[in-house]
Symmetry: C2
Subunit: 209 residues, 2 copies
DNA sequence: ATCGACGCTTACGCGAACGTCAATTTCACG
DNA sequence: CGTGAAATTGACGTTCGCGTAAGCGTCGAT
């Protein structure tokens, strides 16, 4: 009969350092990716930012790609609950849009806090142009939200895919520019995006005469 | 006294093949970048797609980065005249927006003709996320156009940088999705983007009741 | 027809990053 | 403690792409 070894609980020292190491690698990777970009980054660059040895990296990830995926997934995992809160709380189309942009821009600011405070110029920001399943899931989620919330508001959307794409495009590009400004004006960016999406230029611009 | 050698005109055989080779390399690079992505591409990959030898590459470019830059610049060089035509012809704010989106989406379709007709699934499309001086120049150009055309239309833009960013964000993201659809619906995408930018969701959605 | 210059080719050495693995340290459990 | 399993270390060999340069063929001027 096979004796099943009684293993230390999830709070044994072994498990603790294992989790700590994993987190250390992820944190280091964020740093390096942000500093020199994903392409230029090597596994060694990442591990050098930790107090671990080269070989240890491979106990946790197979490649830098896998690290990147983990980071992206983690970001998505952190963002989705926020989106869900927005969805649950929103009482109108407008509220949903407003809150969603607010959530995204806040999230973006938080994720890039280090990069912002270090004031590094032209830093490559994490999260640009990822094309993972997680990202597609978020796209679909937003799309369904829009359809749902539009229906409730008795608005008919002619092409929810395009609308979603446009809304996300605004978020992405505006987000980039928002992060360049000091101080970072989350509120303003969210308000701008919301107004634009809802009313277009007509809403943004008051006819002066 | 230094004798200045009389050199063959620009249509000598030497010059011809030189231009042809350069074009061959650029074309090959487009192919490979599109197929396996910029990062994964090696100089050898590019040269293998031509009938040239490895060393010849370095007679024309110093690195794959330089090739990429050349491609991006060429794209920009081809696009900017279109934008200028739009600017000159446009008689109103609306016309400018409409024509600009039309020009961009048409351009995008043309640039990706090969990728589209080959029907390769999920192909990485050239032109995504470039951050060259050329691109910044185009951004500024559009921004100034918007300010100009808004002033003419007696509209005051509160934040032309954000507006430009949003307009470009819409173009980028919508463009990606447009390219995924068969047939590629340039007209529809341009109309969608224009309406959205001008009137927002209010313009896109007719209240059904 | 000759000859010099230009440009293409091929093969080579270099350096960087990779992934592994034997030796070593650390931890869990009796 | 003592022992075995688990995890870490860091040096090592391998692979891969790069850029160069000597050799060779081709073009063009006289």
């Amino acid at each position: 009969m096979t004796s099943i070894a009684k293993v230390s609980g999830p709070d044994g020292k072994r498990a603790q350092t294992k989790a700590a190491n994993r987190q250390a690698i992820l944190a280091a990777a964020r740093q390096v990716f942000a500093r020199i970009g994903f392409d230029a980054t090597t596994v060694r660059d990442i591990i050098r930012e930790t107090d671990l040895a080269a070989g240890t990296f491979y106990n946790y990830f197979r490649s830098k790609e896998e690290v990147f995926e983990a980071i992206a997934n983690e970001s998505a995992r952190r963002f989705r609950p926020m989106l869900q809160m927005v969805r649950e709380k929103a009482q109108s189309f407008e509220e949903y849009i407003q809150a969603a942009y607010g959530a995204y821009f806040t999230f973006l600011q938080t994720e890039n806090e280090d990069a912002i405070s270090s004031g590094a110029p032209h830093m490559a920001l994490i999260g640009v142009r990822v094309d993972t399943p997680e990202m597609h899931a978020i796209f679909d989620e937003i799309r369904m939200d829009l359809e749902q919330v539009a229906q409730t508001a008795n608005i008919s959307l002619e092409d929810s895919e395009y609308l979603t794409a446009a809304a996300i495009g605004i978020a992405r590009e505006l987000g980039d520019h928002m992060l360049q400004r000091r101080p970072v004006d989350v509120e303003n960016a969210a308000r701008f995006a919301t107004t634009l999406l809802l009313d277009g230029v007509t809403g943004l611009a008051r006819q002066p005469n």
